[in-house]
Structure formats: C-alpha cells, structure tokens
Point group: C2
Chain length 220, copies 2
Amino acid sequence: MSMNQDLRIENRDTLHLKVCNVIREAIIRGDFKPGERLKQSDLAEKMGVSRMPVREAFRKLESEGLIKLEPHKGAVVKSISIKDIEEIYALRSELEKMAVYQSVDLLTDEDINQLSSLVAEMEKADDADTFVQYNIDFHRLLVKRCNWERLNSFIGTLWNGLPQQTPHLLTGQIETSNTEHRKILEAVVKKDKETAANIVSEHIYRTGESLIESLKKEGK
Amino acid sequence: MSMNQDLRIENRDTLHLKVCNVIREAIIRGDFKPGERLKQSDLAEKMGVSRMPVREAFRKLESEGLIKLEPHKGAVVKSISIKDIEEIYALRSELEKMAVYQSVDLLTDEDINQLSSLVAEMEKADDADTFVQYNIDFHRLLVKRCNWERLNSFIGTLWNGLPQQTPHLLTGQIETSNTEHRKILEAVVKKDKETAANIVSEHIYRTGESLIESLKKEGK
DNA sequence: CCAAATATTATTGTCTACACTTTTCTGACA
DNA sequence: TGTCAGAAAAGTGTAGACAATAATATTTGG
C-alpha cells in the first residue's frame, strides 16, 4: 500500500554521512570537548556501525576544520585560541562581505521577508541562546544566494570553527548588533549592495573584537 | 648506526596519502580530464592497493576542490568554467592580500633573497611553462610566513582549482606581470606591507581579468 | 514498434579480519 | 633511583568479502 511512503527521512543518506552529522552535532553542541581524542572503535560501537564509516566521517570533519587527524595518532577535536578567533572573524569579515555583495541582487522577496522577521525576533529575544540561533540564521540567509560555491564553502568552514559556548559573552553587545542588523536589512531592502556588504563586514569585525575583549576579561 | 637515517622520504606516509598525492598530480597534470569519472577499483588496481585508501584519498581531494563526490555515483574530476575562474581570481586577490600583509614582517632575509632570484628567473624565462613554475613559487613564498592556517589552506585550495593548461594564454601578459613582480619585491624589501599587499591584490585581479579575456577570445 | 516493468550488471558502500605503528608497561642494569 | 631496552597492549591502517544501490539491458504488454 502507499502507507509507509517515506517516513524516515534521511534514510537514503549513506551511513558515513549520518555518522558525520551525528559527530558534528556532538562537537558543536560541546559533547566532545576541544582537545578530546575521538576513538574510532568507541564511536563505531556506540553508534552500532563498523569503524569504516567513522573513518570516512573523520575525513570530512577534518576538511570542515572540526577535528585534526594525524596518521597513526587519531582524531582530536580542535581547540581554538584567541588567535584563531581573530583569524576566523577577520576572514569572515572579508568573505561574507564578498558573498553579501553578490547575494543582495538575487535575494527574493520571500528571503527579505524572512530576514526582516529574523531581525524582529532578535530584537525580541530575551536570552542569549535564542538570539545566537536567530543570528546564525540571519547571516546564513544573507549570503544564501551567492553562487560562488568556493566562497560559500569557506564561509561554512569558518562558521563551523567558531566556539559555540560563547553566546553569554555577547550579552553586552546585543543592543549594538541589533541596530547594525537593522541597518543591514535597510540596505538589503533598498538593494544597495555596496552598503550592505560594507556594514556586514564592519559588523562582523566589530563583533570579533568585542568577543576577544570579553574573552580576555574572563581571564581565559 | 646513523647511516640510513631518513632516506626513503615519504615512506612513512600512510597509503591513502600517497594515493592522494598520485591522483592529485595526475589531475593537475591533466592526465585525468575535467568531467572524467574516476572508478575506485580501476585506480586501486592500477596502483596495486585496495579500494579503501582510494576512497579516503577521494574525500581529501574533494575537500581540496579537485573532484566532486556523490553518494552511490562516484567521483568526477571537476571541470571549471569562466565563472569559476572569475571566482578563483577574485578570492585569491582578497585572500592573498591578507596573507601577504601578515607575511611581510615575518619574511627572513633568506626568503627575500629567494624572492629576488625568482623575479630574476621570471624575467629571464623564455618559455611560458618555466615562467609559470617560477610564478607559482613566487606567490607561494610571498604568503609562506603567514601563520593563519585557515587562510593558507583556503589559498592552497584555490591554487589547486586553477586550470593548469593555460600558461600559453598568458604569453602577452608576461611583461606586465614582471614589472608588477618587481614592484611587489621592492615593497617587500622595504617591509612596506600595505603596499605589498595592495599590489599583490591588484596584480592577481588583473591577471584574472586578462586570462578571462584570452579565454573568451579563444572562443572557448 | 514503443513504453513500462523487470531482470541483470556494474559500481559504490559497509563489514570483518588482519597487519602495522605507536604507546604503554615491565624489568634489567647502571 | 633513573633510564633505557624490549615486550605487551591499544589503536590505527589496509585488504578482501559481502551488501546495497544506481545504471543498463531485457522482456513484456499494448
């Protein structure tokens, strides 16, 4: 019958892709701490698969910058220093600038509506976590229509490399970010790609600076 | 004894790394044509290894942008369009600018001497191929001391993605490139990183433009 | 003769077993 | 007691067999 058509979405993915997703989530969520070593056999057993899909997942995760893989040594979750954060934000600032510049012309009305409501949600948000989530969506949507695949891939890598345990550090900056988001939105609505790109660039740069400052204050 | 210390370089590499290098060379050299499909078993047999190292090599090559990998379909060598070239040169222009900016301060006297002789070699070069080879070395050396690993990795990816059969198209541009290289060298010697970075950026951008123009003229 | 359904084949995906490397442990010797 | 060599253990690397999927060929019904 036509009953069980295609519940169980994702089941057409290959195993190593699913494994990859699970591990990625775990790293990003913080279940695996930076510096922690990931053992093939452990993960394989825990997920009920053989080591092979895990190995392949590792390769992918390495290319995404989430883990470091050394021959005969194994995989360790990458830990990031302040220097890394400087690098990531500086690169994001330049690359997302380029991506936004190209994306703006191609954004649909639907996209812009979504951007608009994301900005509204961020302004309403009362805890850092939900703010951060909407913020991610906002930035992702901004560059969505850029069709330079390498550029998109680079940006994705940078996002993956970001520390996910830092939203609370941004608390003092949410006000500023919101006004900047508004300005970006305005420029996008006007299809003024130069302005949009420039504000995005500065916005990211400034966020990076204040994040670093918070981290240093924390004494870490 | 201390006799056979470390002859047989590369022999400590794992198999999938060696396989990866071999395939990469072949793609870059043009032995595997863009669009061509790579079959795991063929390659494995031809190299006298099992399919597993080949699979792992594929993952790495995919992350370097040399092949495209689709589940159950296999690997095909990426072909590049004019749009890709635009993207690659635009990104190189921005990223190498950043890398040079950071690298200049850290270049050793030895580095600078090498840069200088590379420029001289390029000016002497009478065929396009050797010019291109020195040109690659020159650009690689320029960013060598930049210690942002993500940035370096991105730049490497872009270089890998370049079409290697195009040196003859640059013939008319060699003069211009040489004068630009001289200017870059001068700025580097003076440790003037702003100028160096800017010239590099413009130089790459211009090279891309004229390459695209040549390609279009060729009717391809 | 053509189109849709089905069988066949080719190729990729995964598993298990074994080989190799690195690390850790143990114990002898200075 | 310290350290160095060698053995044992742990974990990664590779091979070859089997399973699942997609592409191709074949058959069947109209």
